[in-house]
Amino acid sequence: MRQEISERTHIALVSFGLFVASLFLTAYSARNPAVARVGHTIVLEVTAPFARTANAIAQGVQSVWGRYLYLVSTAQQNESLSRRVSELESRLGMLSEFESENERLRQALSFASERQLRGVAAAVIGADSSGWIRGLVIDRGSSHGVRPGMAVIHPRGIVGQITSVASNSARVLLVNDHSSGVDVLVQSSRVRGVVEGAGEKVCELKFVTKENPVKVGEVVVTSGMDRVFPKGVVVGTVSHVSAQTSTLFQTIEVRPAVNFARIEEVLVVASGAEESGIQSGGK
């Protein structure tokens, strides 16, 4: 009994020590992001091949499942005809998939060239595993010129920022994450503020005083002042505005222009300081 109590005390002491260590680690890695980045890079390097393979398998299973159901329904009418139809459907499906991928990539690259941005197109290969951090994993990394701090955009608007990079993959912190912040302008009135993540489908436009009224439906674009995102890229549309009497600033909700759950390709663009490192048109 005494031995058990002694063992419990040891466990409690060690656990307390580890908890304190975790607090120090949190504070230290928050102040020195490079330390956390090294760890993230190692894990990303190890997990990216698994994520890529698992993603391919999942897509294959989805595809086989879809085609199986299709064949079952058509076989009831005519077995031989259905075989031929399914073959053609399959080819057509692949072709239209290639066509839409081409279209998306062309849009992304023309978007970049119109704005004279140098960037690398990347495919989304994974998402954050905990669900607490809103992030994505893309299939381009340091070997393609991607560096932490680079902006990630989509023809419809901004997506987020690169937080850690492995050789062939990188992690993107989405603009709707709580810890994201983007310097923005309201397009029509040129009122300046900072957009921060506030939920899965909503962001908050902060630090806009009541002297600068903002209307629902106005478009919010990047200001370029943060030297991360290029100027003039759409962030989203104002969806709700309220001004309480007790506060100095307005409470403004912004609905992001990009549906983060449905993006497949993105464009990683360099800020002014990092443009030299990127290989243009990497995909």
């Binding site: 656990s15 908890f19 975790s22 992001p33 956390a36 999942a58 595993s129 905990s130 669900g131 912190l173």
Partner: protein, 170 residues
């Protein structure tokens, strides 16, 4: 060796979670596989090594997700410490107990994580939905994952011996 196997299983669970999330599963429905590992450790590996492993599981989640290192490690080790204290009073072989304890532990660890990671931010309604949803999802998958861990790693004899000594004393 058994300890390493638990971390390997944890690592595999993190990849599965990432895959599920990537396939469109909403974040509030995402089971936290690593919390099941922590519950298993508290039930069957109540030792200093178990505390270190729980810390390792948290650190693994920190490394794969967060922008800072430490919050999940702290949350998991705290959950482990509390669970290892109450586990001698629980019938840990029961799947219902495993399920309920995993749900409660997931809620607890998630709350500690929120406190450590978003200390200066107010908690939104969406965060609470994610917290409750993930706890429920973790509770549902816990018996299956726990059983897999038990089969792959084998269970520590110390807990079973304690039970045996209690029974013989009675």
């Amino acid at each position: 060796m058994r300890s390493l196997l638990i971390l390997v299983i944890g690592f595999a669970l993190v990849i599965v979670q990432s895959l599920l999330h990537g396939m469109g599963m909403p974040e509030w429905l995402l089971p936290q596989g690593l919390i099941v590992c922590v519950v298993y450790l508290a039930f069957f590996e109540s030792s200093i090594a178990g505390a270190l492993l729980a810390f390792g599981c948290g650190l693994l989640l920190d490394l794969t997700t967060a922008t800072v290192l430490g919050p999940w490690a702290g949350a998991y080790v705290l959950a482990y410490a509390l669970l290892s204290f109450v586990s001698p009073r629980l019938f840990v072989e029961s799947t219902v107990v495993t399920s309920v304890v995993t749900g409660v532990t997931s809620l607890f660890a998630g709350s500690v994580y929120l406190f450590l990671a978003f200390e200066y931010q107010s908690l939104s309604q969406e965060d609470i939905v994610v917290l409750l949803g993930q706890a429920s999802a973790s509770a549902i998958v816990a018996p299956a994952i726990s059983s897999i861990i038990g089969r792959v790693c084998g269970r520590s004899n110390s807990r079973l011996m304690n039970h045996a000594s209690l029974v013989s004393a009675v």
